[in-house]
């Protein structure tokens, strides 16, 4: 097709509008690469029609979108928290003080052919000693939860431990007592969920644990585990 000025003018406007489709669109893109006049014509329309987009009321994208962009551009940079948990759990957690979890690195033997060994700690903002230490016992399909400086739950209450999958409901790992080290069995399913999300939470529940199978009390801590 010959590149007459009229044709460039027409195709550029339809290209920007989007009504130029399929093979014609691809051919026109090649014209753009080759020809400055074509590009100028396209810029004209992008600029002029762009004002139509600017009259739309602004709409904030969900927080997950930014997390996904970061994940795509810098996969080596670990997400600090599950992208899923905040919007969904914030209502539950609103009554409680959510203490930010940070991580203590503990030395560990290298494991080469086993899945990464996960560990994390819950520390309070002021406290020196961690409230809880959590680590996966190697090759034994268990998670050890050690209360260090955590205080006893109020009378009639218990702490309950949860796996927080990226895109599903939390999975209970049962009630965790304060005092000493408590060991939680992992099934193949819970182990896989934990390997994938590497995120746990502790909520305050009625004695004996949540009656519904989902967290009902305030979420006290969200803890991210890290492979060691």
């Amino acid at each position: 097709m010959k590149k007459t000025p009229e044709r460039i003018e027409r195709l550029a406007s339809e290209y920007v509008l989007g009504s130029l489709t399929g093979g014609a669109r691809r051919r026109f893109e090649r014209w753009m690469v080759d020809d400055r006049r074509v590009r100028q014509e396209v810029r004209f329309w992008e600029e002029k029609l762009g004002v139509l987009a600017q009259v739309l009321p602004e709409q904030r994208p969900r927080k997950q979108v930014w997390n996904a962009i970061e994940q795509r551009l810098w996969p080596e940079q670990k997400q600090r928290r599950s992208s899923w948990i905040w919007p969904t759990w914030s209502a539950l957690a609103s009554l409680a003080v959510v203490i930010l979890a940070s991580v203590l690195l503990v030395t560990s033997e290298e494991s080469i052919d086993t899945p990464p060994h996960l560990a994390g700690a819950v520390v309070s903002e002021q406290g020196d000693a961690p409230l809880w230490l959590i680590n996966e016992a190697q090759r034994t399909e268990r998670l050890n939860v050690r209360s260090v400086a955590a205080s006893q739950a109020d009378a009639g209450k218990d702490y309950e431990l949860w796996i927080v999958p990226d895109d599903a409901d939390p999975i209970s790992l049962g009630v965790v007592p304060v005092g000493g080290t408590h060991s939680v069995s992992l099934t193949p399913v819970t182990r896989a969920a934990l390997q994938q999300s590497q995120t746990l939470a502790i909520s305050l529940e009625p004695e004996g644990g949540s009656p519904t199978g989902a967290p009902t009390g305030p979420i006290l801590h969200v803890v991210r585990l890290y492979p060691l």
Binding site: T21, A53, L56, W66, W74
Partner: protein, 184 residues
């Protein structure tokens, strides 16, 4: 509408992004993602596709920020165009994927159907400094529907219940008149 100051800020941020400045990239995202997302969402009529297009657009902006320069026009228009083209691509890729349907309106199960609301039509006309007002109704509506909803000629013909040849000529003539008016 962005003023000159905002324009300069965006250009400065893009410059920093071209030098791999992640903090600048986040600030740029915070400033323009709301506008870009509302366009993607308007076109796609659904969240998933709009979010995917927005992600793709920002990944692209990160890699291509160095290609932006003032000759490309306003920085916001440049970024909006990236988002818009990506949304169009995704909408059409999805249509091809579901292309068993013969009737083009069957593609519109994604919620893009429906008339353009009056408010949008009015503000759109305003933004183009009254030039849209100079077009006849059919020309103006087919252009705005293509812009905001990403409709193809086939889809417009089905929605407006008009032969495709007529729709094509509305758009063609409408755009030409628009250009003459905008150039004045």
């Amino acid at each position: 509408m962005p003023d000159a100051q905002e324009q300069d800020n965006l250009i400065a941020l893009l410059g920093a992004v071209a030098h791999q400045d992640r903090t600048a990239f986040k600030r740029l995202y915070d400033r323009v993602s709301g506008r870009m997302y509302s366009l993607c969402h308007k076109m796609a009529g659904q969240r998933d596709l709009a979010e995917e297009a927005l992600q793709d657009a920002f990944v692209r902006i990160w890699h291509n920020a160095g290609e932006y320069h003032r000759d490309r026009g306003a920085p916001l228009s440049w970024m909006l165009s990236i988002a818009r083209y990506r949304t169009l691509d995704l909408i059409r890729a999805r249509q091809r994927h579901n292309s068993d349907a013969q009737d083009p309106t069957e593609h519109l199960e994604d919620g893009r159907e429906g008339p353009l609301d009056t408010q949008l039509r009015l503000s759109g006309a305003d933004a183009l400094t009254g030039c849209l007002e100079e077009l006849n109704h059919s020309q103006r509506d087919s252009i705005l529907l293509s812009y905001y909803r990403g409709f193809t000629h086939d889809e417009l013909a089905a929605i407006l219940k008009t032969p495709i040849g007529t729709v094509k000529s509305w758009i063609r003539r409408g755009l030409l008149s628009l250009k003459r008016c905008l150039e004045q």
